[in-house]
Every structure is written in C-alpha cells, then in structure tokens.
Amino acid sequence: MSDLKDELRQLADDAARQARPLAVADVIRQGDRRHRRTIIPRRRGSPRAPGLARRPRPVRRWPGWVAPLAAAAAVTAVLAVVATVRGAIHGSGSAGHRPAASTVYTVYVAIFGPPADRDGLVPISTATNTPSKPIHVRGMSGVAITPDGKTIYVGTGDTVIPISTATNTPGRPIHFRAEVSTIAVNADGNTAYVEIGARSGPRMLVPVSTATNTPGTPIRVRIKGGVIAFTPNGKTAYVGGSGTVTPINTVTNTPGKPIRVGMEPTDIAVTPDGKTAYVVGFQGTIATAVPVSTATNTPGKPIHLPAGGCTCFIAITPDGKTAYVTDDGVTPINTATNTPGKPIPVVFPNASPDEIAITPDGKTAYVASYGGGPDSVVPISTATNTTGKPIRVGSGATIAITPDGKTLYAGTMNKVVPVSTATNTPGKPIPLRGPINGIGILITRGPATSG
C-alpha cells in the first residue's frame, strides 16, 4: 500500500524476530500463582465498599473486537502534581471559597507534551482553584521541588532551570554534560540530585547545591528510571537501578557498596524513623519488596507481593507502621514483622492501582486506579484496610495531597480535579486549557467520565 506500511512492517518484523518469550510453562505458572493469591482471597469476601456491595460483577466476555481495557490506555502526556506551601495565610480577598484560616498552596501541574513546546508548569492556587499563567519549559524532563517549596527544578535538554515559586519566573539555567532526566531534592533541601546521561549509555547522578545552583562532581552509580529516596535526616540517598540499591552519603556525595535486591527497583520509601528503606520492584513477573536496614545497609528477606510483574509504588504511613504497595491490588506490609497482609482489591474487577498517597494524619491512603471500570481514585481506610466509594476523576490520574491533608488533587489528561478528603467528593474540575491544547488530542476515552 504505502511506504508507511512497509516502514512499520520492517520495524515490527525486526522486533518480532528478536522477541524472546518466556517458556509457556513459566507464563502459566506465573498466572496460576497470581490466580491463587489474588482471585481466591477476593472471593472469600474481602470487605467491599458499601455502595458497591450489591452491584453484580459483570461477567465480561470479549469476542471479536470489543476491547475491554482500552479506556484506560491513554497515556502519553503525563501530569505530575506537586504541592508547595506558599507560606501565605488565606486573607480576606477570596473568603467565599474556603474557610478563612485555610492555608493557601500552589499546585503546580507539570504538563509534558507532546508537542514539546507545550511543556511546562501550570500553577494553580488552592484559594481559587483556577490556573495561572503557565511557565513554559520546552522539552521538559524531570521536575522536583525543594522541601521549603521555594524552588522548582525542571530539566530540559542538558540543563536544569530553577524556577522561583514566589515569582514563577525561571532563573539562570544550570548546564550539564549530558541529557537530564530525573531530578530529586534531598530531604534537607540542600542538594538537588540530577540524573544525567544518554538513554542507552551510563548514567550519573550530579549533586547541585540549592544555595548556589552549581553542580558538583558527578557520582557514578547504577540508577534507572529516577528511583531515588532520602532518609528523613537527609544524610543518605538510596538509588535504585540494575538489580541493586546504592546508598549515597549525601555529605560527601560518595556512593556505598551496591546492595543486591534481586529485582529491578521501581520505587523506594524510607520509614519515618529512618531505620528501613523499603525497595519495591519486579523481576520478570515476580514483584517483591525488600526491606533494607539503613544502619547496616543489608537487605532483609524479600517480601513477595501477590500480583507481580508490576512497576509498583510504595507509600508508608506517617506512624511508620504500614507500608502500602500498589501491585494488581494494594498490599499492606506490616513494617514491624515485614509480613504482607491480605491484598486489598481495588473496587472494579480488573482495575489496577497506580499511584498512592497517604494523608498526613495517616488515616486514608488514596490510590489512583484505572481500568476495569471508570478510572477513579479509591480511598482506603488504613484502620480497616477497606476501600471506600471510588471517586471518579477521569483517566490516568496522578495524585497529590496538600500538606494540610484537606484536599487531594488528581491530575488527568485534560484537567485537575480537587477532591475534599473530608467527604471524598470531587470538586469542580479545573480544565487545563490554552497553551496545553495539544494534550486534548491524546485523550483516548470516548464520552467523558462524569465527575
């Protein structure tokens, strides 16, 4: 037909020839194990949301061309929501919107195109929930905010641009020798760590002083996909990549010996007491969590997660007692015994949980869930590990909770939805317009989900 078809065909054929499938027996074994662990516990009658308890679960058959999961698949544009304390106490100006004593935050929505020239940050004041003038950052890669909320670092090309949140204006770019991907700011706020390197080449982590915005000596370390976490005292960074986690002394910026964790790390979280770093990730289709003692930097016994094959997220409650891991369900891990609890099924059959955020009071874990039903954010009571009624926000939600715990912001493909954590009801969606029209064409859903 056309050259386009030929080009695509050759491309696909190359990849098809080099495809290396697992033995079918392994696939079946994985599947059977998952079936036992996830399906059967659910049938035993895990507590379900009251509102959904009597809803008959549809038996779905997919003959022909009905594609069950298509609605969830629309993701190229990514929205990252970061909340920053602006230090401002809500004044009399817009007293009608929120209680007078509420702290006002700015939620920055990071818009990644395409097209790349639509990339940037959209500031939204929580006082009015209306977007302000966007800050354009063409070809934006990583984005991170300092703990004091005063500076946002964004990567683009070989540079990192500091943006003052007081003025929303970009500062002088910081130059690097290779392309910037992830940025993470240490808990002490003194250093931003910038992952650089060509995608296929070796990657390095460059410490940047946040006081002077000058880069230090690059640290050679196995890092992949920006998996990095800091101890609460800011003295150690844990960096994941290539089956290992490497501790980095943030005072001297020297890496320690890589700790083998037996899987590809996808997320790391350190307990509030700083004693344990939990590393989650997958090997093939097996997902595990590995507790690493920060005192000795030795890995504990891997905790097997029921779903497997995931690129999991982990969040730890403020009291440090429970770690929640999102796989195909949500698995609570008792951090005292390092034993996994019964997986908490997300509300819709076949739905997959994604990002997770826990309120500052530790009472509720919110999980962005997609597929198997309308994409939603599902609240989980940490006291009972039961799910509440799903909050419908739209496809592909990325979530963040304000530091006061009052509002959850869910960023989706074309809007940001504020959700009251007191009532778990979505507020008026904040449309993302104007300079980010490019995102609209990426929405794959049919009729918009209400709410």
Binding site: L8, A19, R199, R445
Partner: protein, 163 residues
C-alpha cells in the same frame, strides 16, 4: 482455552505482538516486557478470552495498557523514553530508518497506536475505534495526523481508508 490452546496461541502471536507494541511504544525492551506480562494475565483470564483475533486484541490492549502505565510511572524519564530515545543499534538500521524511527517517536502515542493497528494489525477504522475506545471519526483524524507528521520521511503516503 486449555493449556495446549494457550500454548499455540502464545507461540503464534507473541512475536507479532512484540513487533506491534514496539512500533507503538518505540521501546523494544518495554514492548517485550509488556507483551510478556499481558500473556500472564491472559492465562489468568483465559476463561474470558478466546484464541482467535479477539484473544490477540485482548493481549494487545492489555500490553498497551501495561506499557502506558510504565511510561506514566517513569514519568520523569518519559521524554527520554518516547521522544529522545536513541535508535536501537541491534537492528543495524540505515540512516533512512533512523530518521523514520525518530519521526515515529515524535508522533503522539495514540496516533502511532492507530497507525500500527491500521497498517500492521490490518484492522479497519471501526475495529480500531472499538479497540481504542474512541469514535471512528477520531480514529480517522489520528490516522490522518499521524500520516501527515510522517510524510516528510516517506516517499508516498496516499492510502485509501478501509472502512
């Protein structure tokens, strides 16, 4: 679907689906991982899917969803993964191919997905609409925009639209 049927289905469709997912995602390792995981889920849900084209579509949609999730999770690396990714050297592509791959990676994912379903999976616009959950008009628009974006890299792109 019993074990033997699944085995046949797996062997017959795995490489093809990896090829399609590669063209959709622009990342070979990602494509392989996503298809692999989708087949594990296919075994779990085997009672609900068949071994025919419906089964293949199920695995493809699931693999796409898995790949899309991973992009989102690696959100800070997304631009590296999708737009600035270096061409794979394993295939030893010529300069023209490199330019085409680069161009393809710059096409928005849903347009690329539509192009792949249309040209590689040989689906009709209606079938693509069903698989991607949008209206046929949207599929046509995506195909047109995707082709327009790639036109400079191709000698000739006039292709009649199957209905």
């Amino acid at each position: 679907m019993d074990r033997e049927e699944f085995n046949g289905f797996y062997a017959a469709t795995f490489p093809r689906l990896v090829g399609q997912l590669y063209a959709m995602t622009g990342d070979r390792a990602e494509a392989q991982d996503a298809v692999q995981e989708a087949f594990v889920r296919a075994w779990v849900h085997r009672s609900q899917i068949g071994t025919g084209r419906g089964g293949e579509a199920w695995v493809r949609v699931t693999a796409w969803r898995i790949a899309a999730t991973r992009w989102r999770r690696a959100r800070e690396g997304i631009r590296l993964m999708l737009l600035a990714a270096q061409p794979d050297h394993a295939a030893g592509p010529g300069p023209d191919r490199v330019a085409f791959v680069e161009a393809l990676r710059k096409v928005p994912a849903e347009q690329r997905r539509a192009l792949v379903l249309y040209h590689l999976a040989d689906l009709t616009v209606e079938q693509i609409a069903a698989e991607t959950g949008v209206r046929p008009g949207t599929v046509k628009a995506r195909l047109a925009r995707g082709r327009a974006a790639l036109r400079p890299y191709l000698r000739e792109t006039a292709a009649p639209v199957r209905e």
